[in-house]
Amino acid sequence: MKALEGLIVVLAMLIPFIAIKSYDMATYTYWTLISATYLCYIAVARW
């Protein structure tokens, strides 16, 4: 379960390398949202 969570987070962070090719702030926004979502998950669900 822990390894799966780690794998999901790493894969989610790697998506811009293969799937986001728009020349605007999409990659920047995507990475920010993924990190913020994971922080919320840690804050709410983990403890």
């Binding site: 990659t27 920047y28 920010t32 994971y38 840690i42």
Partner: protein, 470 residues
């Protein structure tokens, strides 16, 4: 630049006053090095953040984003999610074991599991890795002070060294944590101020979001700079930073209760996310302004922030310069204090605070001399530090997940990983196209698993205790 000197004097006086207030009751190593395990969640979070986020953020990361685009954000946020992942699982276990077993240094945990000789070797390797890293911090901020005509390079190094040693000597970790907390908040506010000033300066008649497509390939990954191999090479050491860097690992011992530990992790995550977004956004803003002819072209990425400081109003330039200085000091004095604790307890086996204070002074002098000489290899060593520290990872994870292996396994793992990092970096080799950081991890784990298969633990009871607590 009198404004800077007045502000700097105020900064030094306020910091020293805080450190003096933290002096009370510092008699044992537990009090001196981990503040008696009585630190609140908020202060723990701020000292964790201020220790982690060095002058690299407002100088190095702004410049890296300016030069290479959004890949810099990905690299830094990879570190953050890695840290959150590791802390959310391991921080409660580390905190509990440290409390149960009376651990003060990261090496204490390793010594109980693998033997004291392993923690001795670890303290030496960690010192080799981190002393150049701290020296580079001092060199960086002293060069900025020199470029902004605030003071000479040598005076900058001397004042930095005095503040690092003074605040750590006076209040130990409590002094460092309290000064870190104040400085951490200041660093965050100055990053906000810089972003807003640049926005009002450069985007009053146009929108940043309308102009940003001019950055082209800098807005996507991979690009010419952020190739997958380069990204992995940088991300791997930083992903495990929370476990491999002793100055942050030791901070897992300090929260006063489980609730404070939880607050520490969450508030640190919030601080890190906001600070990273601000700093990388600042780098993108400046690059857009360069593309539209409103900010000079800066070819040396480390010169981007100093160039900005020459453009902005003097009072703001002074405040931001102080925040960069604070970022370097908070990182440096935390590392020096942790190294002092590891050398005192793990290497020399002493329980005396006085020995730790003497070693802290010696370390600070050594770092200053290193910094003053500015040898060419020092930058390479500093960059190498996070890769070298990876050799500890199998041993740290082994504390929680693996019951075999002892002294021989521990020493061989550290030695093999350390040698791999040094050799590959010195020869600039990447066998099979794999970066040195990944090789260091692979060799360390291979040696750890191979030898632990043949070596039982010397004191099995410790392992069973760790597994039970874990």
């Amino acid at each position: 630049m009198n404004e800077f000197l007045y502000a700097f004097a105020a900064y030094a006086v306020i910091g020293t006053a805080i450190a003096v207030m933290a002096m009370k009751g510092v008699r044992t190593q537990e009090e001196y090095y981990i503040a008696g395990r009585k630190v609140s969640g908020l202060v723990s979070a701020l000292t964790y953040a201020a220790t982690t986020y060095s002058a690299f953020m407002m100088v190095g990361l702004v410049g890296l984003t300016y030069a290479s685009g959004v890949g810099a954000l990905g690299f830094e946020l990879f570190y953050l999610v890695g840290t959150l992942f590791l802390l959310s699982y391991y921080a409660p276990r580390v905190w509990e074991i440290a409390r149960e077993k009376g651990c003060i240094t990261p090496g204490d945990m390793i010594a109980m599991r693998y033997g004291r000789e392993v923690s001795m070797v670890m303290s030496i390797i960690v010192s080799v890795a981190l002393i150049p890293y701290i020296s580079v911090q001092l060199i960086g901020v002293s060069l900025i002070l020199e470029k902004t005509s605030a003071m000479s390079f040598e005076v900058g190094i001397a004042i930095s060294a005095i503040l690092i040693a003074l605040w750590a000597l006076l209040g130990g970790l409590r002094g460092v944590a309290w000064t870190d907390a104040v400085q951490g908040v200041f660093m965050l506010f100055m990053a906000i101020a810089a972003v807003f000033w640049v926005y009002s300066y450069g985007f009053s008649d146009t929108s940043f979001f309308d102009e940003v497509p001019k950055l082209g390939d800098l807005l996507v990954v991979p690009n010419k700079i952020w190739t997958p191999v380069r990204f992995i090479a940088l991300v791997v050491p930083w992903f495990f930073f929370a476990l491999t860097n002793p100055q942050v690992f030791q901070r897992l011992y300090i929260p006063k209760d489980r609730g404070s530990l939880r607050r520490m992790v969450i508030l640190f995550g919030f601080f890190g996310l906001v600070y990273t977004i601000l700093v990388t956004f600042l780098g993108l803003e400046l690059r857009v302004l360069t593309e539209t002819g409103r900010f000079p072209v800066v070819s040396d990425r480390d010169a981007v922030t100093p160039t900005l400081l020459r453009l902005i109003p003097p009072w703001l330039a002074v405040a931001i310069s102080i925040s960069i200085f604070a970022a370097a000091i908070t990182t440096a004095n935390s590392i020096v204090l942790t190294l002092s604790s590891m050398l005192t307890r793990d290497l020399f086996g002493s329980e005396r605070v006085a020995i730790g204070r003497v070693l802290l002074l010696i370390l600070t002098v050594a770092i200053s001399i290193f910094a003053l000489q500015r040898p060419n290899y020092i930058v390479e060593l500093a960059v190498l530090s996070s890769t070298i520290l990876l050799c500890q990872l199998p041993l740290i994870l082994g504390v929680f997940h693996f019951s075999r292996g002892g002294k021989v396994t521990g020493i061989a793992t550290l030695t093999a990983g350390f040698t791999t990092a040094i050799v590959l970096s010195y020869t600039s080799a990447s066998p099979l196209g794999i970066p040195a950081s990944v090789w260091t991890l692979m060799v360390s784990f291979a040696v750890f698993f191979a030898l632990s298969a043949f070596e039982k633990q010397q004191e099995r009871s410790h392992s069973e205790d760790f597994q039970a607590l874990g």
